[in-house]
Amino acid sequence: MKPSRQLRTILPLTLWIVVVWMAARIDGSGTAAPVARGAQSSQQSQIEKGRVAVTQVCVGCHGNGGGIMRMLEVREKSAEEWRETVYRMIGRGAQVLPDEIEPLTAYLASSTRRGRPQAAAATTTQGQPGTEATAILARRCQRCHDLETATTKPAAEEWPAVIDRMIRLGATVTGTEQQTLIAYLAGLKK
């Protein structure tokens, strides 16, 4: 028996609704999303493991983070190139455990000049993308710090001392940038 006209209209419409609904879920609101978030979280934990390894393995020769930060500033390397660098450092005596090789590579690749997040994309808790201060934050601070957390912690009057300490630890911040940062961070609402 031939389906009725109503059925011929409703069925395609229903099908269309189902397809759109499924697409929305895959886009991040449904069952496909946890897989993507899981992968991202795993990558972050690799990077974090790599950051810890840097503090244990690299500072002995490259000194207190300052030397490392400066080298990350000038090196423009892909992940593959950073892996090769890790191998070379092992050859030079760096005491890297086998399961630290990839995390180190991931961290260095995420922090390098080439791998650095775009300055314009940085945002603050006040959501003011594209300012000079946010560009400095992205360029100088973001490779080590989660900005959302870091910028909300100190009180306004503490920022000059905090930035001084970061410079002593190796952050390459110029005098002008320092003043810009202090003015901006001190004015942030907590």
């Binding site: 020769c61 000038v74 070379r88 005596g93 005491q95 455990l97």
Partner: protein
């Protein structure tokens, strides 16, 4: 030991007894006194076996400690050196030593090695002294003081006992600015010597004996002498003292309290660490230190300043270099044996004990919690005995096994990483430094001798070699770091250890510091060594240091210092110019066969130079071959054209 020259027939020989009888008549008491070291040993702590008073009083030296010599003044120098066991000397072209040559010829048992540059001769004397544990002796021209200075400085930094002597220095020349002379001839050498002096005709052997005393110290190091004031061919009668060079350096023994303190700390520490330095080998303490380390499974590190193979690098307790140390996470006690922490130091706040045979070094560079002045071997043995007194055997065994399991698990992992890293570049061309090290380890004798003079990439190669213990020996890199040392030093090492394979490891940049001249002596004396040139056409270490922090020149790809490839020197042709064999290696697959050919040549008695194309390391410049151009030829063309 008899004097080198027979006295004239009309003068009866003088026996020691007659001499003593004659001098006793003058009211002077002369004779052989017990050495200072023997006295020191008689005041050892109570843990040492006690010597009964009566037996000690009766144990006067039975043999004669000196004899009388009669002959030329130059011959007296030779006689005193021979009485110290010196049979190998180093020389660079000069006149003015005929009486000395005559004495050498009459003795018949002294070999003089001619080297065509004073600097390389001093390096060879140093290498010989390090490997033979004997005294290095050089004689050459006073005008060559400048040439010798670079490696005199290295020997001083390395604290190697040398006598470096020069013609000239006559007081009658002072103020004249005369031929090959200047006032105070040895003043340029003073910074790098333990003592400087003029040989005097009537005190030749006495001054040499004193010079040896200064050279051994501690601290040990070079002594420079000039011959200008001495009338070499004048006849003299002088005493020649027997000198045991093994006992020449004063050996202190630590106070029992200090040893006990160190031992208590050692047994209390959860994560102790030993750091070994050059004095371990200088005092012959390597085996005892290994035993002590194994007793409680204490990890051992070293530094770039470790000149010798003080601890087996393939041992599970070997932790690599102090600068890279990450284990244990919190070291709670560091004991440095013959390591003065000049370049690398423990983590701030770590309790540190410094043991040294040179009291001047204790705590000088790095403030320590306990400073122990002692011969290293004595200190290690005393410490080991003290631990036996503090812990039961069962406790020692438990500590040893628990800690060994922990440390060896880590070193196993670290070695896995080294292997992974090495394999990543295994077949690359230009070759990786790791691959060169891997192939050398495979090809060389287990007990070969390595004399490295490489830059910061050295560890990549050296880490592949098994050094120390029953494995290979190592001499170098000189702590002085003045390039132009290694090839000459390797010759000296080969002279001291003729039955071993000796390998000189050089960078192309280091070899170009005038080291080809040393090949002449290597050929002349048929030293069947292997000279490896790690050739990346670059002063790699300097480029890396200059570029590490970026900057304008780095961004522009300009390195004013580094690039060596224009002209691209063919080192094999340099070797062939000296009648040695040379071979280039360009790819990883060529290396193993080239090494086998080299070893065959060495077995046949001929040295080989391998010019191995290796990779550059460090920051990559956008223009790796840039250099600041200047052409005299172009200027001439323009001038002539005009």
């Amino acid at each position: 030991m008899s004097s080198t020259e027979k006295p004239p027939s009309d003068v009866p020989p003088v026996s020691r007894r007659d001499f003593l009888a004659a001098t006793a008549a003058t009211g002077l008491a002369l004779g052989a006194a017990p050495s200072v070291s023997a006295l020191a040993q008689n005041t050892a702590p109570s843990s040492a076996p006690a010597v009964p008073q009566a037996a000690a009083a009766a144990s006067l030296p039975a043999t004669e400690a000196f004899e009388m010599y009669e002959g030329t003044a130059a011959g007296a120098v030779l006689a005193q050196l021979r009485a110290a066991g010196v049979r190998m000397m180093f020389h660079t072209n000069t006149s003015g030593f005929v009486p000395f040559w005559e004495a050498i010829d009459r003795a018949g048992d002294v070999q003089v090695i001619n080297v065509t540059h004073e600097g390389h001769a001093v390096a060879a004397a140093q290498g010989y002294a390090m490997a033979s544990r004997s005294l290095g002796f050089f004689f050459g021209s006073g005008a060559g003081v400048g040439n010798s200075m670079s490696n005199l400085y290295c020997a001083w930094k390395d604290r190697v006992p040398l006598l470096v002597t020069y013609s000239g220095g006559e007081l009658a020349e002072q103020g004249k600015d005369g031929f090959e002379s200047w006032d105070d001839h040895l003043r340029p050498t003073e910074s790098f010597t333990m003592w400087t002096a003029s040989l005097l005709t009537d005190e030749m052997s006495e001054i040499v004996r004193r010079a040896i005393r200064f050279a051994y110290g501690p601290p040990s190091g070079p002594v420079t002498l000039v011959w200008g004031e001495a009338r070499q061919d004048e006849r003299v009668r002088t005493r020649i003292d027997k000198i045991d060079l093994e006992a020449a350096r004063h050996r202190f023994r630590a106070s029992p309290d200090a040893i006990q303190q160190a031992a208590r700390w050692l047994v209390e520490a959860q994560h102790p660490m030993f750091v070994v330095g050059p004095e371990v080998s200088e005092d012959g303490a390597a085996k005892d230190l290994l035993a002590l380390s194994e007793k409680l499974s204490i990890p051992v590190t070293d530094t770039e300043d470790d000149l010798y193979a003080n601890f087996p690098t393939d041992h599970p307790l070997y932790m690599g270099q102090l600068r890279a140390l990450r284990y244990p996470r919190q070291v709670d006690l560091v004991i440095g044996f013959g390591e003065s922490f000049k370049r690398r130091r423990p983590q701030p706040g770590t309790p540190t004990v410094h043991v040294s045979h040179d009291p001047n070094l204790l705590g000088r560079v790095y403030p320590v919690d306990l400073a122990i002045a002692s011969d290293i071997r004595m200190a290690v043995r005393d410490l080991s005995d003290a631990i036996d007194g503090l812990l039961t055997r069962d406790r020692i065994s438990r500590i040893r096994s628990t800690r060994l399991a922990e440390v060896s698990a880590l070193t196993k992992q670290l070695n896995e990483s080294v292997d992974v890293a090495m394999r990543a570049f295994f077949d690359r061309s230009p070759l990786s430094w790791e691959r060169v090290g891997f192939e050398l380890e495979r090809a060389l004798d287990k007990n070969a001798v390595i004399v490295p003079e490489l830059g910061t990439q050295a560890y990549k190669l050296m880490r592949q070699l098994k050094i120390g213990g029953e494995n290979k020996l190592k001499f170098g890199r000189t702590i002085g770091s003045a390039l132009g040392w290694g090839v000459g030093a390797s010759l000296g090492v080969n002279l001291a250890l003729p039955d071993r394979q000796v390998v000189a490891l050089q960078g192309d940049g280091g070899f170009l510091f005038g080291q080809s001249e040393a090949l002449w002596s290597i050929a002349r004396y048929q030293a069947p060594m292997l000279i490896v040139i790690m050739n990346n056409h670059l002063y790699n270490e300097t480029r890396a240091r200059n570029s590490n922090n970026g900057g304008r020149l780095f961004e522009a790809g300009k390195d004013y210092n580094g690039y060596l490839g224009d002209p691209d020197v063919d080192f094999t042709k340099i070797a062939e110019a000296y009648s040695l064999k040379g071979e280039k290696v360009k790819t990883a697959s060529e290396l193993a066969p080239a090494l086998q050919r080299a070893l065959r040549s060495m077995r046949d008695g001929k040295a080989v130079l391998l010019d191995i194309e290796v990779e550059e390391d460090g920051p990559s410049l956008s223009d790796a071959t840039w250099y600041q151009r200047h052409s005299i030829a172009d200027i001439q063309k323009k001038t002539r054209g005009a």
